[in-house]
């Protein structure tokens, strides 16, 4: 018993107190900053190395919905037109906000818009059912990490629940495989309305590096509008939690 108490005391308090404040290591690749003026018109080094076809030129744009945040483009660009910052607040409520253009510095302000209906309904308690439709388990592990003692997402009333019947929304990871299409649809229709959809990771948002695969079936998203996009490969727990808090206006 004494050993248990000693262990507990030694642990102290490890939870991040203000979830909006932590600063990640400089090496973390978060929100990219572009400088189109430095982009050499005839050079396509960044596009050639990008595994996810996330970059377009003239003018230079980077789609975080496809990006795996590998940093290859930053290394390939001799002019320094692309730079990944350690800002993890990359979530967006519209997919077109994920496309980073020239020097817009106030990403957070325009990317995550509070949804009044969702806020009214779910601001103080939001329960998710998670479905992995081809997710590689990196996104899933980071979503699990959201609930550990460090991030403690449950303090905001946001939790993952075991049954879609208990859920207010669906969190999807993975590129939406053909073999998972039916189960995804069934799970969604088991969630009582109103229900929200959150896409987590480049695979879910755009199929990411699996875009060329013939084993996918992304029809689910054809007539359903996701409420929140969390880019990354995988997204950091802080990206997910801050994105959801932003959507709820908290």
């Amino acid at each position: 018993m004494l050993r248990i108490i000693k262990m507990r005391i030694r642990q102290g308090f490890q939870t991040i107190r203000d979830i909006r404040k932590p600063v990640l290591t400089e090496k973390f690749r978060g929100l990219p900053v572009l400088d189109p003026e430095k982009c050499e018109k005839n050079c396509k080094a960044c596009r050639e190395v990008c595994p996810a076809k996330a970059i377009t030129q003239k003018p230079l744009k980077l789609d975080m919905g496809k990006c795996t945040f590998c940093g290859d483009c930053q290394r390939a660009c001799k002019e320094g037109a692309i730079r990944f910052t350690n800002n993890y607040k990359t979530a967006a409520t519209r997919s077109d906000s994920l496309v980073i253009e020239s020097g817009k510095q106030n990403y957070e302000e325009y990317a995550v818009k509070v949804n009044r209906e969702i806020k009214k309904m779910f601001a103080r308690s939001l329960k998710f059912r998670q479905v992995s439709a081809g997710g590689c388990n990196a996104c899933e592990m980071e979503l699990n990490a959201c609930s550990n003692v460090n991030f403690d997402m449950a303090r905001f009333g946001i939790e993952f629940v075991a049954s879609p019947r208990h859920a207010d929304g669906l969190v999807i990871t993975g590129p939406l495989t053909e073999n998972m299409a039916d189960a995804l649809k069934d799970t969604y229709s088991s969630i009582p309305e109103p229900r929200i959809i959150i896409l987590v990771g480049a695979c879910a948002i755009s199929a990411g590096i699996f875009a060329d695969s013939s084993a996918l079936d992304r029809k689910f998203l054809d007539d359903r509008k996701p409420d929140l996009f969390i880019p990354g490969c995988p997204p950091h727990p802080l990206t997910f939690i801050n994105g959801v808090l932003g959507l709820l206006g908290r």
Partner: protein, 495 residues
């Protein structure tokens, strides 16, 4: 660094691979595997109206591989190997699904993953041929594909009598993304794809991939890069093992263990992030070396963190593994005996927990593991306790390894130039001991140096059947515990 010093990577000219008459090929496989070899890859490459089937056998004692091949008529059949060598059962099922070559007499010829380009496109997930046990006393419990937790999808069907499980059938394939076709589809290195074969083994799979590509493209990496790669591989092992111990603690409602170990894991993956900017090590390893060095100035900090990890894990596991409430759930639960493990071809950590001494790091060491050595930890009992305990022991030995490797880091750079120009008509076989077990990647090129086939084998491919056997005659409520003690990959299996 001379590639030949690495026993885990082999490059063979296709012309040097013996091509036997089909019956001789099969007979030799049986003889070799009955002696001392073990199958690590068995797959077909369509050539006009026939299929060339390759078998890669591992010689664990001598650290070598043995490759042979034979032509099989398309959609033909042969007398199955599984009948003689049960360890072939998954490989033959996969070959049948991918090429339509029928292994006659196979006792369990069921779909593996319903791959998109399966020979029988008419078959579908909904029509899976489940095994049923007749009788009024027997009831079925169906779980999934969507599970209660935040995990990947798979369908489990239990045949139970009361609480007791007679049989568990596992249907997979929901995660199939067509990984094997995507590698040859791009005429460039695709480490990003390898990192996403199984995200919890991003380092392991990418290392296997990069080693295969380096063999095919004749690229040598620096000693420093090799050390950093193996440090990353061990960091991955430590992080996932800790996470699994936390999950096992949670499954027996031992919340202190869950909370403490969950927090310690954060320290480890944040160390990986401090090295390369990603908590899972994505973006660290590339053909040609590694993209990030571990600077001299950062090494003491890493050692300090690892010391804290070691102390906490040791104390926490000391308490947990001496608690009667924990032990009563773990001991003698979900037993896979050594004989069974050997017959079905279990690999990696789960095999070692059943008394089988298989470890690529010791049996097929690269230069770093060859020099620094890492103990092969083998436990005899094969129960959930052994699979938990072995994780604890491996965490300690991995930390010790990293401490040695950090001291050994060189100044010879991190990246060498890597051009995507592959050897013609060659086969590269790359073996890596990921945290689950052996990861096997095989790449094949044609006469133009184009990648024509890329075969991936995750340890989960071998081990899912082990889980099925482990829960037999256990209570159905012990399934989550058995499942967590294996913690197998769905997408690594489904590809």
């Amino acid at each position: 660094m001379n590639v030949s010093e690495n026993k885990n990577v082999h490059l063979i000219k296709l012309n040097d691979i013996p091509c036997f008459d089909r019956d001789d090929f099969l007979a030799q496989l049986i003889i070799r595997c009955r002696m001392d070899k073990r199958v690590v890859a068995y797959f077909g490459v369509p050539e006009k109206s026939r299929v060339k089937v390759y078998a890669v056998l591992a010689d664990d004692e001598r650290g070598g591989v043995h490759v042979s091949s034979a032509f099989f008529p398309e959609k033909g059949s042969y007398s199955c190997l599984t009948h003689h060598l049960p360890s072939f059962h998954m490989f033959e099922r996969e070959l049948f699904e991918q090429t339509g070559i029928l292994p006659e007499g196979h006792p369990w010829l069921k779909p593996v993953r319903y791959c998109h380009d399966r020979a029988d496109r008419k078959s579908s997930m909904a029509g899976y041929p489940f095994y049923t046990i007749p009788g009024e006393e027997v009831h079925e419990v169906a779980v999934g594909p969507v599970h209660a937790g935040v995990i990947e999808p798979g369908h489990f069907r239990f045949m139970c009598n009361g609480e007791k499980v007679y049989h568990l059938e596992i249907q997979l394939g929901y995660q199939h993304r067509g990984v094997e076709e995507l590698f040859p589809a791009h005429a460039r290195f695709m480490p990003h794809l390898a990192e996403s074969i199984a995200g919890d083994t991003a380092i392991g799979h990418n290392l296997a991939y990069c080693q295969a590509m380096e063999a095919l493209a004749d690229i040598e990496v620096t000693e420093n890069a090799m050390l950093i790669r193996d440090i990353a591989l061990e960091l991955e092992r430590i992080a996932v093992h800790i996470n699994d111990l936390a999950a096992i603690a949670s499954d027996v409602a031992y919340l202190l263990g869950n909370a403490v170990l969950g927090a310690v894991r954060t320290l480890v993956i944040n160390t990986t992030q401090a090295v390369c900017g990603n908590r899972f090590g994505k973006g660290l390893i590339r053909p040609g070396g590694v993209l990030f060095n571990i600077d001299k100035a950062d090494r003491p900090e890493i050692k300090k963190t690892l010391k804290r990890v070691k102390d906490t894990v040791r104390d926490m596991c000391g308490i947990m593994f001496s608690s009667p409430t924990v032990l009563s759930r773990l001991e003698k639960t979900g037993v896979v005996e050594m004989e069974t493990a050997h017959r079905i071809g279990l690999v990696g950590m789960s095999a070692r927990a059943s008394g089988l001494g298989l470890d690529i790091r010791s049996d097929f060491p690269d230069k770093v593991y060859g020099e620094l050595q890492i103990p092969k930890i083998v436990l005899p009992n094969g129960d959930v306790y052994s699979r938990a305990r072995i994780r604890f022991l491996e965490i300690l030995s991995s930390i010790e390894f990293i401490e040695k490797a950090l001291d050994g880091l060189r100044e010879d750079g991190t990246m060498r130039e890597a051009e995507y120009k592959l050897e013609k008509e060659s086969m590269a076989i790359s073996l890596t001991e990921g945290w689950r077990g052996e990861i096997v990647h095989v790449g094949l090129t044609d006469e133009d140096g184009k990648l024509v086939r890329y075969k991936v084998k995750d340890p989960s491919f071998n081990n899912w059947f082990g889980l099925s056997l482990a829960v037999r005659n256990n209570g159905v409520s012990d399934f989550p515990l058995c499942n967590k003690s294996f913690n197998l990959s769905y997408c690594g299996h489904d590809l």
